[in-house]
Amino acid sequence: MSRINDVGGQSGFGLVAVEPDGPPFHADWEARVYALNVAMLRRGVYNLDQFRDAIERMPPAEYLAASYYERWLVGVESLTASAAPELRPDDG
């Protein structure tokens, strides 16, 4: 039942695309996803292995098509699906 993330030794991924001085985040949303994940980990909403697990359970075709932080987004979304905004009294 090996998962798509376990790629050590697999062939077919091509040459390494070296980007020597790439920026740490390529878009604002990447930084926000990074921060949301760290915030949830620090608060103990889930732990790092649950986060890895959530990403590894992506269907292989989706995993491979998703960018790195897109996978993180999927992970945070799925692990916080039950967290809803608190109802305030005037929300009725």
């Binding site: 039942m1 090996s2 998962r3 376990d6 050590g8 030794g9 889930y46 732990n47 790092l48 292995d49 649950q50 890895r52 697990d53 590894e56």
Partner: protein, 93 residues
């Protein structure tokens, strides 16, 4: 949690398992024999943490060195070091 079962220099085999849950035992190391080069200390077992167990097993983690030729066949020539929890490993008879 107890004393580490293995010591530096021991030959160990990574278990030939294929769990359905999250694990940190890479597929390429499974069933392979390597040598312990460092005992890192203890960590909660990733497999248990991923499943949300309230009391994950706390186990020694070892750095185990595998010859590339054993993992991938010829020509080999380099080493691959992998960090493995104790329950991923068994004694080499």
């Amino acid at each position: 949690m107890a004393e580490p079962r293995f010591a530096v220099g021991d030959r160990v085999r990574a278990r030939a398992v294929d769990p359905s849950h999250h694990t940190r035992l890479p597929r390429y190391a499974r069933g392979q024999v390597g040598e312990v080069v460092e005992v890192q200390g203890t960590w909660p077992l990733a497999d248990d943490r991923a499943q949300g167990f309230a009391e994950p097993r706390i186990e020694p983690v070892y750095t185990v060195r595998f010859p590339a030729g054993a993992l991938w066949g010829p020509p080999g020539g380099h080493w691959v070091q992998v960090e493995l929890w104790e329950s991923y490993l068994e004694v080499v008879a």
